[in-house]
Amino acid sequence: MATKQDKISFKKDAFGKNASKLPEFENHKQQTQKNTTCYMCACRCGIKVTLENNKIRYIQGEPTHPVNKGVLCAKGNAGIMKQISPARLRQPMMRKPGAERGTSEFVPISWDEALDMLTERLQKIRETDPKKLAFFTGRDQMQALTGLWAQQFGTINWAAHGGFCSVNMAAAGLYTTGFSFWEFGDPDWDKTKYFMLWGVAEDHASNPMKMGINKLKERGGKFVAINPVRTGYQAVADEWVPIKPGTDAMLALSLVHVLLKNELFDWEFLVRYTNAHYLVVDTPRKKGDGLFLRNNEGVPQSWDLEKECLVNATDPKIKPALLGKYKAADGTPLKTVFTIMTERYLSDEYTPENASKICGVSAEQIEKIALELAHVAFKESIEVETEWTDWTGRKHDKFIGRPVSMHAMRGISAHSNGFQACRAIHFLQVLLGSVDCPGGHLAKPPYPKHVAPPIKPGKKVVPGQPLESFPLGFPTEPEDLAIDDEGNPLRIDKAYSWEAPIANHGLMHMAITNAVAGDPYEIDTMIFFMANMAWNSTMNTTKMRENLCAKNEDGEYKIPFLVVCDAFDSETVGYADLVIPDTTYLERYDTISILDRPISEPHAVCDSIRAPILEPDRDVRPWQTVLVELASRLKFPAFTSDNGERKFKDYKDFIINYEKSPGVGFLAGWRGENGENSLKGKPNPKQWEKYIENKCFFEYKLADNHKYFRGANKDYLEFAKKSGFNASSEPIIIELYSEKLQKFKLAGMGLYDGPQPKKERDQFRLSRFFDPIPEYYIPLEHRCTFSKAFPFYAITQRPMFMYHSWDSQNAWLRQLQAHNYMHMNKDKGEELGIKDLSWVWVESNTGKIKVQVKLMEGCQSDTLWTWNAIGKQKGKWGLSDDANESTKGFLMNHLINEHLPCADTGSPVTNSDPITGQAAWYDLKVNVYPAADDEQFGVYPNFEAAKNLPGRPETKDVLRYNTKKPVRLSRSLIDILTKGGFEK
């Protein structure tokens, strides 16, 4: 916020005069203010809630909070309407005996009954075959707890929503630079001069992004937006690049082409911080090809230009060759990583001319952007005068910044070539040297981590025992996969199988399909927490709704028991056998932990909590409390004392006392018996109180010499180790060349000494897509969808003022958008005889939908798009049956298949990135044509109206929320009769 405004005050006399004329509007004495953390979305801003008469008078941004510094978005401002939503669940419920699953017929039960029922069932599973419990969580942010719970339960079948959300971004970063776009990095908004936004409509950094754009604009920096659609942020971009969906890797690598061609890259940066000078064995189609040349200790080798011999690539005293082909002592041909890069990226494939054909962006524009990037990076570089020491011990008197920054999200992530596309964007940054430098893309502690973080996915399921490690981790070679000796997947979602080897976040989008198909095996109980898997967070929604109700011959459901924990009456709740009603975000304790997805800022380690603002007025309990309760009942080792007693009274107690490793707990602030330690320290019984006192957040500001080049910054690396962020203080080397990927590639080619895929399909996928340096390839669905039959790309965007499916219950937000349109390019629409606001059929390989179309200019010609998750099932979310969300609103998801629509894959294979298993939502190809004259109203498909849940309150036609009788303004009669000075 502009601070200058703080200075305005009204002329003293005028002020006095006015004040006397105005009534006292607010009685502050009858108001109280409490802090907590917003959860109208996952940005997690600090909020200050003013209460009056036990109702929320006003929610405002907490000005001192590191994330939002006082501002709030539309959702955050609409918290009141979420708190009074008629869709809130009111008590635990069980599917009505005899009622079919999916009919939303429930009977209320008590908490005791619900917990007993669940404990008994889970106990049995845990003692026999823990993997028969599949536990998946949607938009939650307490994966540290749910993951711990699953690990303690002993099931490998746990994941959060990351697999269909942004694992491509997280993985690409963590396998390249050690941090990422998404939530582990941010542009240096305070210094950057050139900002490129790749495929972002809103992002997790909702408010920070907007605050950042303001800063950039105030500085006169340039903002380039790469996006097929010009709405939202792209509207204020200086340059809009309407790219064809799925082709960003080509664009990024073509920019790389121009930079390389003109020698516009940072030599020092490459040599010092990356593996560009490492020597790679160059023996095509032979075992060992593409692996680093290593000495006997396994240290990668490099060619020293002065000594003219092989040297340890990580030895600080070398002067390594960046370019060239060399030979090992035994004559094995070698080339440097950078040579491999130049060979590929300087080839004709990546010329702007060729890229232009693929991306639909002109060659001139590509060339121009590349040269602008280089200009800002190298001719407008900035310096921050601070003494710091690099990992070799060398002292520097300043940080040199290349003020070019980028951010990318789902426009990149949600494609099956997204991992490589994201890596390609990181490559651009690395070439320009704008990684974790002033003005560049900054890491947020506890990131960067070593590439890749040293955690392997848990595999071994033993009845009655916890898993040996977390279910999710970072495979670096085929040995790490979760497959059995036959090569079959161990996990229900087939994460870490040959189908998706580096599926760091699991494949939640496959869980239902696989469980129902009994492939790889059948499960007993499925728990969904905070995920709307019967609607907007699933692919192929119509089919998935059938799947949830699918039965065996014996009449038993294929997913025998479905538990849904939600706070609201979502579509998925309708399918539950047992409904666990959660509190709202204003009614519970939560932690936003650095063990999870932290809220840190680039230069501060931050975490935060939620503290209840209101008492629940319903029979609901926080899910975290329920998890701790279940964990105690099931006697998980981490939750049970040595004497067999439960260790933690409740969630609060758990957070205070649980230590992941000595001194490291969920909360990093005010540790130590008296709260004297930060980051690490003994549990503090008054820790929650300390947080509440400090407006519910903790901020540890980094020392000036810790702020940049953290992967190679000695003092920072030591600090990170001491604080428990990283296991070692070794430098974090940026992996341009991923030997890890190459190992999988070799396995695919049958050249690996270790597990290798048996299916031809998997062999192909590994050898084709696991390229150690990024390349552009056509998204998988496009490879097998005839572009004649389905000529359009179809994508979605998030509206800034709605969070997925959550906000249609919000009386204020739904006024902004109660239904959505399918947007398309105006000229294109007219060419096809499609009229503005007419109804059209949109058809894919998977299904068809009937929707209303809106024509616009700011849309790439071959692209259709709509706002995500606006459509709703009739009767859900506390809405009436004639609500626009179900009569005119629609979901794109009906058209998207969870399997690739290709015939040549043998058995069905997931419609995901072949490397990470990231759901490929935006690979969708469709056709569009006008609906008949008698079809000109109403969406298709339509679902039967859901029954109202027991206890759902009657909603009135008129809503008048307020906390008090308003103090009115008034004008005196004299004034009315005599004044009139202003009329002329």
């Binding site: 739904r814 006024q815 902004l816 009139g980």
Partner: protein
């Protein structure tokens, strides 16, 4: 603009009422009062008062908070609506006193005083109609209303309707005044021509979206189009100002109003005077004229486009 029936009824009846009373006072001023016997005079005045009273009452029907209606004349200094209200209220004692004096055959200094009083009543009633017209004409936000033809239309139509009623009453009473026949026909013609001039003039008064936004958007490009109103369920503004009628329907109503409002009454009265005298024809002429004027008033609203529509997707208003 959304045509509210209460407002249509108000403007038509009160216009006719004040038109009629203005004619009665004018007759007195011109010393022609004896054309009507006293009874008929009072009945006629009663009809006029009933007409504008009904109109005034109906005008309160569209108030969302009628309990404050009594405040409506407070801002007569600036508001035409208040002026209209205030004059309408003041008019009651004036007209009652006036009628009372006539009733008692008020004699003192009779000639000059009553002459002046009559003229005053005439003037005030015309001014009231003018105020009604100005309520609409003063709005710069509605180009179709913001023209001096608006109050002229209101006055000429008010007088025309009043004249028609008066003619009918003359006829019922067997009063046969030749000049009045010509006067009546010319009143019809006059109101017809002023109305046509209005229709002609509003074609010129338009604003476009560029005017409304361009100063702010200031981009080189030539066109500005609405992409999204930002509220899918409609708003007060779209309800209040978003009234849309098909051009065809407007044209039909226009023809209807011209036919029933002007042509038919003219033809009927002409027939009555020159060809075939009939009370029924006279009565039908009155009904047609009122019907036509209701249509004319409906059109007056339906055709009017508030500039706020420019922000809601209209390219011009």
């Amino acid at each position: 603009m959304h045509p509210a029936f209460s407002v249509i009824f108000f403007t038509v009846t009160s216009g006719a009422g004040y038109g009629l009373i203005s004619l009665l006072s004018l007759l007195n001023f011109l010393n022609l009062g004896m054309l009507l016997d006293k009874n008929t005079f009072f009945i006629t005045a009663g009809v006029a008062i009933a007409l504008f009273t009904m109109g005034l009452i109906s005008s309160t029907f569209h108030l969302a908070n009628p309990k404050n209606a009594w405040r409506a004349f407070m801002r007569f200094r600036t508001s035409w609506l208040a002026r209209e209200g205030l004059l309408a209220i003041i008019f009651y004692p004036l007209i009652i006193l006036y009628l009372f004096l006539i009733y008692i055959d008020f004699q003192i200094d009779q000639y000059f005083f009553m002459q002046a009083y009559s003229f005053f009543i005439f003037l005030v009633s015309i001014i009231i109609i003018h105020c009604t017209g100005m309520i609409y004409a003063c709005l710069k936000t509605i180009p179709q209303w913001n023209t001096f033809w608006t109050p002229i239309n209101y006055i000429t139509i008010g007088i025309f309707l009043g004249s028609l009623i008066l003619f009918f009453i003359f006829y019922l009473n067997g009063v046969d005044v030749d000049p009045y026949k010509y006067y009546l026909l010319s009143a019809i013609v006059l109101s017809f021509f002023t109305k046509m001039s209005y229709y002609f003039s509003i074609k010129k008064h338009t604003h476009n979206i560029r005017q409304a936004t361009n100063a702010a958007i200031k981009l080189k490009s030539t066109n500005v189009r609405l992409l999204d109103v930002g509220h899918t369920g409609g708003t007060f503004l779209t309800d209040e100002f978003g009234y849309k009628v098909a051009e065809k329907k407007l044209l039909r109503v226009k023809l209807f109003s011209i036919f029933f409002g002007f042509l038919a009454p003219f033809a009927l009265i002409y027939t009555h005077i020159f060809l075939f005298e009939s009370i029924i024809i006279c009565f039908i002429a009155i009904c047609f004229a009122f019907l036509g004027m209701v249509a004319e008033r409906w059109l007056f609203f339906a055709q009017a486009k508030h500039v706020v529509n420019l922000y809601h997707g209209a390219q011009n208003v």
